[in-house]
């Protein structure tokens, strides 16, 4: 029977290479061998996605490799989720994400969403053209740690400002950390509108969330 260390390495490699069929048996073997679900997630799976995220940041791998890695990760998380919930240790928390009202672009938002899931966050994706009220509704319903907003064009950047202002008016601003991203955005703009952080790409968004948990 393989050593636990070998199984852990195999699981990491299965996630890094996006081999989804290999993930389920490896996770089950590790559980059978007595490894704690939280340890599988935190010590094995999330570090694997960190490797993937770093490679993606450096253009050593591209979107397809990152997406299949995130998908493989999610297969493992699906197995662990009921046990983690029972232990009260479900991942890093919830993230509500959406493209702001008026913005119909979702490629960047979808990439961020997948990478966050792969990094152990539970993501509630509200889609595109998300009105401030819809974000607020999701905050009440899901109690997320983070709200992430995306805008691809300058026309809709101002809607981020309005959304945050609406959060303040509704008394929910301080309940969440707000992150913003999208091609025309800058750190300066994020500061101006009072967001908690700006992520220049999917990997940066994960790193910022990790530091703010």
């Amino acid at each position: 029977m393989p050593e636990i260390t070998t199984l852990k390495e195999e699981l990491q490699q299965a996630i890094i290479k996006g081999k989804r069929d290999a993930v389920e048996p490896l996770v089950r073997k590790l559980l059978f061998d007595g490894l704690n679900p939280e340890a599988i997630m935190n010590d094995v799976m999330i570090p694997a996605m960190d490797v993937v995220g770093d490679q993606y940041s450096r253009n050593e791998i591209f979107l397809p490799e990152m997406m299949i890695a995130a998908r493989a990760m999610n297969i493992g998380l699906d197995i662990l989720r009921p046990m983690l919930t029972a232990q009260g240790a479900l991942g890093k928390g919830k993230v509500v994400i959406g493209s702001v009202k008026g913005d119909i672009h979702d490629v960047g938002k979808n990439i961020v969403s997948m990478v966050l899931q792969g990094a152990g966050y539970e993501v509630i994706d509200l889609g595109i053209d998300v009105a401030p009220e819809k974000f607020i509704e999701a905050i009440h319903q899901h109690q997320p740690k983070f709200v992430l907003m995306s805008a691809l064009i300058t026309l809709t950047m101002s809607m981020m400002d309005e959304t945050i202002w609406t959060f303040k008016k509704a008394g929910v601003r301080e309940k969440v950390k707000i992150g913003v991203g999208g091609a025309p955005l800058t750190q300066k703009f994020a500061d101006q509108i009072g967001a908690d952080f700006y992520g220049k790409d999917a990997r940066a968004a994960v790193i910022k969330c990790n530091t703010l948990i």
Binding site: N59, F62, L63, P64, E65, G102, T154
Partner: protein, 369 residues
């Protein structure tokens, strides 16, 4: 001395020659902005060019009707009829997305809700969605418009290599998965869109277009959505189907950082590369590395300068871009995507004035300095 005709100015720059001044043309000017510039929707394409001092046109015009959002993302319902018999002036020859579409009621902008080409079985949708590329009606109508409006201007048709059609009709996530799960599906979808475009191009080659503007996004500001090897396997062979059918000059457009695939992309033989998005690529570097192979178009920033900046900032940016990419010719000023209806009108005018002020060859004379 009398200057060059606008068309000759564009074609000279596309051949990497030195015209009398740096030309200006846009991939698109949204109809709302056209109407603001003209202060009416009753105008011809040539009148818009004349007013702005622009060297040519393509895209679409309100022609006295309501100014509407772009036609490039029309929904499939009723697409074939509206494709064959366009109701307003258009020079576009792009296929519809094979996708479930949505619309923002306030703006009329359409968007892809969900790509529908996600399995081998879904390939049957091609027949339902794609118009007949040999149907004569659109070619006849557009030929009449070219004859009516062309004058001395350069006129371009917008087409696709098929890549954007494949990516949007699958969805970026499905594309990514299928690189590993079902590579044959991606190739088959790309091949079908490319063959459709190649047939369209055979008709366009016989028309009085001066060049083509080929719009296929491949990248975001970080990088391309595929590795160089994936580009060579999944894109290049099918793009060649269209590229080899093209018998006129052509400009390739993709937003984002194209550097990971640029050497391979340029083997397609395009004359121009657009829009050199400032947040993704450095125009000076691109001019130095690739200016001997391709005309550079674009780089006037849409994320800030044209949309949020001041006329003075636009003036400065146009001057800097001409100084960076204009020497030796082979540069055409354009926005770093298109002139959207959320560009400030005064900034578009500042752009027009700056091009005249700084773009005269030789560039080291007078106000150019």
């Amino acid at each position: 001395m009398k200057g060059m005709k606008p068309r000759d100015r564009i074609l000279t720059a596309l051949k990497r020659g030195v015209p009398d001044r740096v030309p200006w043309i846009e991939n698109d000017i949204e109809e709302g902005l056209q109407a603001r510039i003209m202060e009416t929707t009753e105008f011809t394409p040539g009148q818009l060019c004349d007013k702005l001092g622009m060297d040519g046109f393509g895209y679409h015009f309100p022609m006295g009707g309501q100014a509407t959002a772009g036609q490039a993302m029309q929904a499939a319902v009723g697409f074939k009829e509206s494709y064959y018999y366009p109701k307003k002036i258009t020079f576009d020859f792009v296929p519809p997305w094979i996708a479930e579409m949505g619309v923002i009621p306030e703006t009329g902008r359409t968007f892809v809700k969900r790509g529908l080409l996600t399995s081998n079985d879904s390939l049957k949708l091609f027949e339902e969605y794609l118009p007949d590329p040999d149907h004569p009606a659109r070619y006849e109508q557009v030929s009449k418009w070219i004859a009516q409006f062309k004058g001395d201007y350069a006129v371009f048709a917008r087409i696709r290599l098929g890549s954007a059609s494949m990516l949007e009709s699958m969805g970026i996530v499905e594309f990514a998965y299928n690189v590993y799960d079902n590579p044959g599906l991606i190739k088959e979808i790309h091949r079908r869109f490319s063959e459709w475009s190649a047939k369209v191009v055979e008709h366009l080659n016989r028309m009085d277009f001066d060049y083509y503007w080929v719009n296929d996004d491949h990248a975001d500001t970080k990088s391309t959505w595929m590795s160089r090897e994936q580009y060579q396997e999944f894109f290049l062979p099918y793009q060649k189907i269209v590229a080899q059918a093209i018998k006129k000059p052509w400009v390739f457009h993709s937003d984002g950082n194209l550097l990971p695939i640029l050497d391979d992309l340029l083997t397609l033989g395009m004359n121009g590369l657009h829009p050199i998005q400032p947040s993704a690529m450095d125009i000076k570097q691109i001019k130095e590395r690739y200016g001997n192979r391709v005309c550079i178009l674009g780089n006037i920033d849409l994320d800030y300068t044209l949309t949020l900046g001041t006329p003075d900032e636009v003036d400065k940016e146009v001057r800097e871009r001409i100084a960076a990419a204009g020497p030796g010719g082979g540069y055409i000023v354009t926005s770093a995507n298109s002139l959207t209806d959320y560009c400030k009108t005064e900034n578009v005018w500042a752009m027009a004035h700056a091009i005249k002020k700084y773009g005269k060859y030789p560039l080291d004379k007078g106000e150019n300095r």
